[in-house]
Amino acid sequence: MKGPRKRKFRHRKQFPELNHLRIALVGQPNVGKSVIFNNWTGLGAIVSNYPGTTVEILEGTVYLSYRDVYSPRWHPGIKDWQPTEEDEFQQDDRPFRRDRPGRRQHGRGIGKHFRKWALKDFDETIEGLQLDIVDLPGSYTIVSPSTEDEKVTLRYLQQDTPDVIVNVVDATNLPRNLLLTIALLEFNIPMVVCLNQVDLARRMGIEIDEKKLEMLLGVPVIPTVAIHGTNLKLLLRTAAKSGAYKGVRPNPRRFLFPNGIEAKLRRLEQRLSQMQLCPMNLPLRILSQQLLEEYAQCAACIESSLESEEALNLVKTIRTEIEKEFDEDIVLVLGEKRKQYAIYLTEQVQQGKGKRVPLTEKISAILTDRVFGLPIALLVLIGSLLIMFAAGAIFDATVGEFWEAFINPTAQYLITTYVPSVIVQVILYYGLVLGIQAWLFIAVPFVATFYIILSILEDTGYMARIAFLLDAFMHRLGLHGRAIIPLLTGMGCNVPAVLGTRILSTRRERLIAGFLVVLVPCSAQLAVILGTVGLYASIFFAFLILAIVFGIIIGLGALLQHTLPGASHGLVMEIPPLRTPRLKPTLKKTWLRFREFVYIALPLIIIGGAVLGLLLYFPTPDFSYLYMVSLWAAPLVVGWLGLPAETAAAFVYGILRKELTVELLVILANGPINTFMTPRQMFVFALITTIYIPCIATIAVLFREYRWKYTLILATSTVILAFFLGGVANFIMLGLGFP
């Protein structure tokens, strides 16, 4: 049998012992470690404090099929390279350890093409080699760590020795970043250098020869653009390979100090290697440098050793020798030499000096900044809502006034004079005149404006940045991916979001995600409800509703996530570049969204208006059906919620589409809403509308996905939750003295 199954098995056999690898992302702050981490592990990361510290490290898991790890051919490009005579710096290329010395196989013939094809794309969900990814805190140096973050990084490398180090390097600032790389090469851990942000570097006029850097460092160098996801899969595969093929990895070329410092350092190293040191797994070379630089923590460690006296004396002697020779503090001497080496390496591989950073990149960096990003997003959100309110107010003052002053009276006159039947009169007036009026007042100013803004946010690429920020924010709250995916997608429309919960593996997870989705107001609802409340009651109330809804969602997410198991194949994000939106596609998008309001919402509101009119006028206007229903619903609607009794009808009709409640309210008011309801009443009404029963389309899809029992439970519980919160809000506001 020649199926893929057999092949997979064959590749598995290449690594009989290998089940999982731990890969640590190490780099200086802001180089893009977290972006890479998120791309690999999706949103399902676990944040924890490193034992005994307040420093957070992130851990996540991703699977790689063995076929992707297995490749007889080593990473291409590392050729043997020897420094020439005139090269300023010499390097140490003694191997650490070679289990299978120098054996390299090269792919040949058709097999080569097969492997090339097989490695092209990998399926992240396939069972295979488990890769545990760790995002270590940003560190400028690990030779003499000063911040808590740097200490944790060093301790992690010593004590929790990962199988592979992925050193993320910022291509726009190579010299500073290489300082860390040089130190990391001292560890006896397979390493891959990720040359990140090459897009930015290129735009700054910096070209880096990664092949040459690869030769100079002796470890694979992969150029990447983390925010676009470029080459990140290759990076992951290379890292996995480096860990899997321990024996045949290339040799890191370590840095040798010039001018006789090296010989002295070696002497110290030799001496230390003879001592029984504490079980710290620190490379002696780094330890020697730390001792020479009087880095406090390790001196204490040496002192505990038996022969410490002699060793410390040796350290002292060497230190004074070097200080005498260079007539400078040893910290400065060693630091200077390291820096020179980093600059030397940079000069060897880099062409062009950094020019200016393009404006869009600067803006993009600020927009996704850890500190400023969220406040900016919040401002954008508030600004968008204010624009919506303003559009509503302008529309109300112009078209609204015109409708009230001319269309409405004219239509009323025409209907009463030319239509004989009262039933038809009511249907025409309530359905056509008031219905269309309500639709015009609500749908056009709020929904249309909202959709225009939404399309602009999407087309500029800012939407993806908000998602990215929100994801990071959720991580900080301790919420992992599964609790937030529904939140993001439910905003668009609940229906596909419910369908999207299919990707979750267990039924319980799907139920929980379904519940969350239903609580998320879709964008159309949100626009209508917030717009109306903001315009007719108070802008503050609108924001309050928004805050309450998201508070509920985040709170529920936090509560429910404990019941969700840890590892997940989460969402992979690729942030698109910022760009100016083009008019036509943006308008087209807006129309595609809005036309639903023309084709579906408008007929519904006309029918709803007509039915409402009939209920209001029959059997008699004084004792109508609506009045009877209101009497029946009064304890709840009036007593508990403090709303006008007739609003019960709006709640019932709102099941069809939630924003219909508000439109029906306009019809009931038969004029400006704020004469019909007080701000307190509008707030309570809007709060309930936002939370209560999902619209009929969502119910239908819930039924399809979960069957009637859970659908019923879900619908009932949202209704109970909504009416409970509405009542609480009512009494709180009454207590606070709102009319």
């Binding site: 997608t489 668009g492 369908l499 595609l592 239908a700």
Partner: protein, 49 residues
Amino acid sequence: MTTYQCPMCGRKFEKAQATGCAGCMMARACGAIACPNCGYEFPAVPEEA
């Protein structure tokens, strides 16, 4: 082949890969497609190369 890019997560995909809005009242007439990666629904305006 027309490709779309999800404005929420940046995933580029083709129409055939889009998860449907089956079960929705508008069926597929709403002109929207949902991202196969994150599920976000947006109007099907193709990405111009």
